[in-house]
Homo-oligomer: 242 residues x 2
């Protein structure tokens, strides 16, 4: 198949690309990468993604990583329906928003990895952990693995991250005057935020999504989750596709 | 004037945008922001750039920050001469390269701020320093200021950063088979790297730019610095424009 996606079901960047592909109505062959088994750090995977992170899109045999880059590439190759603003200034604002969201991933990981990575990493011997760490290209991700394995983030650190993620919701509330984050239609700006808001609502700060707290964000979230592509993207593997 | 640039002469991101503007042949009104006097953290500047960093481009009254975003915006508004690859896949590779380069800025700052920011910051009282830190939006930049002021990076830390920056040159050597970093002409991929290579050659690891060490990078650097736009961009204020 022309489009192949190496992804993990619950990774935010993977969810972003699946949402984008489904909005475009593009069929693709999916390959799950098991992060808890460190499949993303295998030599075979590193050959197509030197950063050792998910997802990777392979289109006509050529690999591409970084979910924001992947989505903009898909936009250029498959323009309909448009999922990026047409006006250059709005497009620039969209890119800076995606960049900001990407920069918050460390805060999300502090929560997410408490269950997934930590379960495996805490069971490792020191020698096994050292071997696992040596296979991780990114210093930032090595640190996150080490913390998940041996020194879980404490309440103060988690609270700091929670506050940073709630600030993202505050920024969204201010941006959502017209219903969508940038311009007058659903775009990559919205899609980039969806996996974050999902996790905030599931566990990190559910009360922050209440209509009384942030009415525009609550309306936006209702509109997002009502989209057929949201269901088809299967943010969790156990949610049946329609 | 339609294009206004708020910039600092020696900031890498500012240099990137000046290089891009000069390659495009675009006239602009420049305003110097004095980083050592923390002008980038003034309320007036934060109103157009909430990150409190340079540069900011203002086009027809609308501000835009992030040098990569600014350059891609200029590319869309002023397409000739083209400075981004036309093919979507090459464009995607270019974006990931710019993203990688941006991610190395902390390593450059460890060296650069030893002279500029440190000179002012070390002279501050604890109360003055605390007040200065409170005006810095980015946690990462706050940390860099604090280090410059009170606990300069030691030899081991500088060496770690030097190694990271030399690895960038190694990646470039591998990419430069065709003379330019992405595709067959000078592009934002090259321009993004220029301020980094300049600093590496000036102070951080001059020997790494020797033709014997990295022949393609050495040839590339000679070709870059021979471009009229390189001189016109005035990477330092005391270099006369031609």
């Amino acid at each position: 198949m022309a489009l192949v996606l190496y992804h993990a079901w619950k990774s935010s960047a993977s969810r972003r690309v699946r949402l984008f592909l489904e909005e475009k109505g593009l069929a693709y062959e999916g390959h799950e990468i098991d992060l808890t088994r460190q499949e993303q750090h295998s030599p075979a995977y590193l050959a197509i993604n030197p950063l050792g992170v998910v997802p990777t899109l392979v289109h006509d045999g050529r690999p591409l990583h970084e979910s924001g880059t992947v989505c903009e590439y898909l936009e250029a190759m498959f323009p309909d329906p448009p999922l990026c603003p047409a006006a250059p200034y709005d497009l620039a604002l969209m890119r800076n928003w995606v960049r900001y969201v990407d920069g918050e991933i460390g805060h999300l990981i502090r929560f997410n990895w408490r269950y997934s990575i930590a379960e495996r990493a805490t069971a490792m011997s020191d020698a096994e952990l050292e071997a696992a760490l040596q296979r991780i290209p990114s210093a930032e991700r090595r640190e996150a693995w080490l913390r998940a394995a041996r020194r879980p983030y404490d309440a103060a650190e988690l609270d700091q991250s929670r506050q940073a993620l709630v600030r993202m919701l505050d920024r969204m509330e201010a941006m959502l005057e017209g219903g969508w984050l940038i311009g007058d239609r659903y775009s990559l700006a919205d899609i980039a935020a969806v996996p974050f808001v999902r996790r905030i609502g599931e566990e990190i700060a559910p009360e922050a999504l209440e209509p009384a707290a942030r009415p525009r964000v609550a309306d936006w979230w209702a509109a997002v989750t009502a989209r057929p592509a949201y269901t088809r993207a299967r943010l969790d593997p156990f949610v049946a596709a329609d």
